[in-house]
């Protein structure tokens, strides 16, 4: 999650993206960061990871997610980066 440009493509086309149990995402003011909590552990997310994962709430598929991020940050061409991060998050078991 440090480096969102890593890992390959693996596109889950129209599947809604959802945080997997037993992970829980929340914003922690004391750490000024989103964190992923799981049994007896925590991953502190950097800003881009947090912005992506907080939108993985079961209401968006990959394309919607990318479009929304590009709009939110007023930019284009995030597709490759976001897909790579989502593939990595799947591999870590963070997403269903």
């Amino acid at each position: 999650m440090n480096d969102v440009t890593r890992a390959g493509g693996a596109t889950q086309a129209a599947t809604p993206l959802t945080i997997a149990r037993p992970f829980r995402l929340q914003w922690e003011p004391a750490q000024n960061a989103h964190v992923l909590l799981y049994p007896e552990g925590m991953v502190k997310l950097n800003q881009s990871a947090g912005e992506i994962l907080k939108r993985c709430d079961g209401t968006r598929d990959m394309d919607t997610l990318i479009a929304e991020l590009e709009q939110a940050f007023n930019t284009t061409g995030l597709g490759t980066e976001v897909r790579a991060f989502i593939a990595d998050a799947h591999a870590r078991g963070w997403l269903e």
Binding site: M1, N2, Q31, L37, Y38, P39, E40, M42, V43, K44
Partner: protein
């Protein structure tokens, strides 16, 4: 939790990991907030495990915080930034207010972990805990066999634990199975893994015994041989390859077999804040055993003051307190001098380098302990002459009384049971 739970468990248990946080190399700069609150609700326990990390004189500290006092602790800790919360003990379920505390903790935004022997975890309580928002349950086993489980905990609990594990999964909780490893059960590590898989555990913590508290008193009986550890590690590696997707297996080599120490609690006063049953605040599970450390109590001092201002939490924080050979060591930021309890127990001074480090002038002490354990016949004779000291009230009172009379040697007599 490192246990944080067990001597850590773990430590604990595995402590809070921060792969994205980057290296924490600051010495003075800013003190980070506590992230992991361990609420040791009680020292009462139906089990009498020979490797318990509770203090030997726990019977001297039996006056427990009330529900209202615990709720204040939860609120203060959450306000400081604590986000992982372990309810532990003793056996937390001997208190009837765990559900109330879980409900409050859940409302506050903690990720709540119940660290239990399973004794007292009825279907009724599981349902109530689920409704209260409990996130996860860590269930401890002593071995994969009834005989050894029951011997090491000095109880008959194995069948009950099997039933409880099934109920935990029926109620939809993620489950960590924790098993403390030592000379007697390391040869069964394959069976222990199979058992955890059959129970549907998402995580298995194979926590090698850390030698303080009761485990230190039983060190001669519990210390494994290097061969036992290497064989167990190979078995773990095999299962990680074949079943790693289904169940994440943690296995930490015990400190005595290494040449570099581990960070104590991921840094003293850096992540972990424990509160003992009587309200004493602990920078590490075993800090009660360190002489010369005046531990603050939540009944008298706010958690904020305890965490940021107290001498106890600042004593070994960062790097400024390090003595040689640590002070000039280029690896000091990696291990922060290691475990303070090990330094005290094996060198007599908690501010010394952890003697697990082969740069410590006391490293030979650790080597000797391991060598003694390597001789199977020697271990057998120790077991004959000195029965295992089970953690129970009678033994605790005897040890506490002995500690108050420094000239009297405590005879460590247990129940006399043999495996």
């Amino acid at each position: 939790m490192t246990d944080l739970s067990q001597p850590v468990s773990q430590p604990v248990s595995q402590p809070v990991s921060q792969p994205a946080a980057g290296a924490q190399t600051e010495d003075t700069a800013t003190v980070p907030p506590p992230l992991w609150l361990l609420a040791e609700l009680t020292y009462r326990c139906p089990l009498h495990c020979a490797f318990c990390y509770n203090p030997l004189d726990y019977t001297d500290h039996s006056r427990e915080l009330s529900t209202a006092q615990w709720i204040d602790v939860l609120r203060e800790a959450r306000a400081l930034g604590a986000v992982q919360l372990g309810f532990s003990g003793g056996e937390p379920l001997v208190r009837d207010d765990v559900e109330v505390l879980v409900e409050e903790a859940h409302k506050l935004g903690f990720y709540t972990n119940l660290i239990t022997s399973g004794v007292g975890l009825t279907d009724q309580r599981l349902g109530d805990l689920k409704a209260a928002g409990l996130d996860h349950i860590q269930l401890s086993f002593q071995d994969s066999t009834q005989q050894l489980n029951d011997f090491l905990s000095s109880t008959r609990t194995f069948d009950l634990k099997q039933r409880v594990a099934a109920s935990i999964k029926r109620h939809g909780f993620p489950m960590v199975v924790n098993c403390v490893l030592h000379r007697y059960n390391l040869p069964h590590v394959d069976k222990i893994i199979e058992m955890a898989l059959a129970m549907g555990a998402e995580y298995l913590e194979l926590a090698n015994t850390q030698y303080y508290g009761w485990a230190h008193a039983n060190e001669a009986q519990l210390m494994p041989t290097r061969e036992q550890l290497e064989e167990a590690e190979a078995v773990v590696a095999h299962y990680r390859r074949t079943h790693g997707e289904r169940c994440k297996i943690f296995f930490v080599v015990p400190d005595y077999f290494e040449r570099r120490p581990k960070r104590c609690m991921n840094g003293w006063g850096a992540v972990f804040l424990g509160v003992a049953p009587d309200g004493v605040a602990l920078p590490c599970h075993a800090a009660r055993g360190l002489p010369g450390l005046t531990l603050p109590n939540v009944k008298e001092t706010s958690l904020r003051e305890i965490w940021y201002e107290s001498d106890a939490f600042n004593r070994f924080r960062g790097l400024h307190w390090l003595k040689e050979p640590c002070r000039s060591c280029e690896e000091k930021e990696r291990d922060l001098g290691g475990c303070r309890c090990q330094a005290y127990l094996l060198t007599g001074d908690a501010a010394n380098a952890d003697p697990v480090c082969d740069k410590s002038p006391f490293h030979e002490t650790v080597v000797k302990v391991v060598q003694r354990a390597a001789s199977a016949s020697a271990a057998a004779s120790v077991a004959r002459e000195q029965p295992i000291l089970f953690r129970n009230d009678a033994n605790s009172r005897k040890l506490a009384a002995g500690a108050r009379e420094p000239d009297v040697t405590v005879i460590t007599g247990g129940s006399g049971a043999k495996p």
